[in-house]
Amino acid sequence: MRLAILGAGDVGRSVADLADEYGHEVVALADSTNAVIDDDGIDVEGALQRKRSDEPVGVDDPDDVFEGEYEVLVEATPTTLGDAEPGFSHVERALEDDRHVVLANKGPVAERYEELRALEADSAGSVRFEATVGGAIPALSTVEDCMPENVTAVRGVLNGTANFILTRMAAEGLDYEHVLAEAQDLGVAEADPTFDVDGTDAALKFVILANVLSEGGFALEDADVEGIQNIPGSALNLAAEDGRTIRLIGEATREGVRVGPRLVPENGPLAVTGTRNIVQIETRNAGSLHASGRGAGGPETATAVLSDVNRLAGR
């Protein structure tokens, strides 16, 4: 398939880098100010090299990407809340031109799901968004394969930063502030970690799952969200006395979305450690299914984008 990639952050760059390996061709790559477009395939290595040296990725106008001969738009611009712009407009434009869209950007699927599905219904193109939930973990495709009506709930750990902090607090008996500083030194937590530690990032993913289970109806404001900032090391020690630990757990059902610190068995499947993520898919007829893996990272998330592209190509 011929891919046009919007967004040249970790995910966009990794998709460009790995596309050839997965049998696809990149015909456009754009960041917010510049683009490189060539219907015969762009020079990916050259564009990535320019990006690495802080040069413009190309000399074309990002808006011209939509005029090119692409088959799949890969939307990998940063997630925005509220109206989910400009991501939503990018998707709208591609669908109106009857092209496929693969989203790595959580905004449009979490905040404007029904509008997205309505646009898709009027288009010859399809929308896929595996990469928005749990990076490399096949969460949404597993729900799709089980058929959403047979899934009663999805639970799990879908934020590596919060999980890393809680794991270190439990292992070392340290307090939140101390471990957060360490996570920032290691590059696990952002300079402003609010989005991760207050539960918003995990909530967006569980809102997307709830939308898939219910065919829409949920946005971030419908989720009951609590973060981990108030959890002291002593709470984790007390939990351990009872063979439990504390994890930032999300739950998506047809009734709602809830994210918050919860007690889980220390040796249970949901007590993943470090930056690892896990989803537990509770099904009507097949018990619980678990998938665990790397929930973030450029190449990891790019593999989810490229599996979506492969599904669109019918492979």
């Binding site: 709930a153 639970r155 609590e226 108030n230 959890i231 002291p232 090391g233 002593s234 709470a235 020690n237 007390l238 939990a239 006395e241 009872d242 439990r244 504390i246 757990i249 739950e251 918050g260 610190p261 919860r262 007690l263 889980v264 068995p265 249970g268 499947p269 949901l270 537990q280 509770e282 018990g287 619980s288």
Partner: protein, 187 residues
């Protein structure tokens, strides 16, 4: 009744010789040998095992496996059997007709001492059907700072949501953070 065996669901029916049938519900940790260890006190106290229903597919709120055991014994031996089970560390949820419910732990975080911890516990006990079984408090920065408490509660089966509602509202008033257990699924 004659020689007809007592159906397991018919709790406490007397049969010939003064032996009665009892159903005991237990919670077991999912580890090899746990079931065998749990059954030993029954035989040792003169009980006769009739059937064991090991609900492998189900998980209790504490993440353990519920096991239902039907046994026969003279009524005066039954209390010894239950006591024997408890001595070996087995959690007895229900013995005969008496229900002990489920055990659930929650962790509270905040100014627990200054907001009167005993009042918090009383409110939980008085406004719900829960009983506080034990409490573990950790206040590493002294009692004037943020502290944490783990509370183990006995709750009638199926009443956990109502109990959590109460704990949430009591905690809201006192600005405490509640870390609830994750129920449902095989957490």
């Amino acid at each position: 009744m004659g020689d007809t065996p007592t159906p397991p669901g018919d709790l406490g029916t007397e049969t010939d010789g003064g032996v009665r049938t009892y159903t005991v519900r237990l919670e077991l940790v999912d580890e090899p040998g746990e079931l065998l260890d749990a059954l030993a006190p029954i035989a040792e106290n003169g009980g006769n095992l009739m059937s064991i229903h090991h609900e492998r597919g189900n998980i209790t709120p504490r993440g353990h496996i519920p096991v239902e055991v039907d046994l026969g014994c003279p009524p005066d031996r039954f209390d010894d059997i239950v006591a024997g089970l408890r001595e070996t560390g087995v959690n007895v949820i229900q013995a005969g007709a008496e229900r002990y419910g489920e055990e659930i732990s929650v962790v509270l975080v905040g100014h627990l001492i200054e907001t009167d911890l005993s009042d918090t516990l009383l409110a939980i006990e008085n406004e719900t059907s829960a009983a506080v079984l034990d409490l573990s408090l950790s206040a590493p920065q002294g009692t004037g700072d943020i502290s944490s408490a783990r509370i183990r509660l006995a709750i009638d089966s199926g009443r956990s949501e109502a109990v959590f509602e109460t704990i949430r509202s009591v905690s809201d008033e006192k600005d405490l953070t509640v870390v609830e257990p994750l129920l449902g699924g095989d957490a």
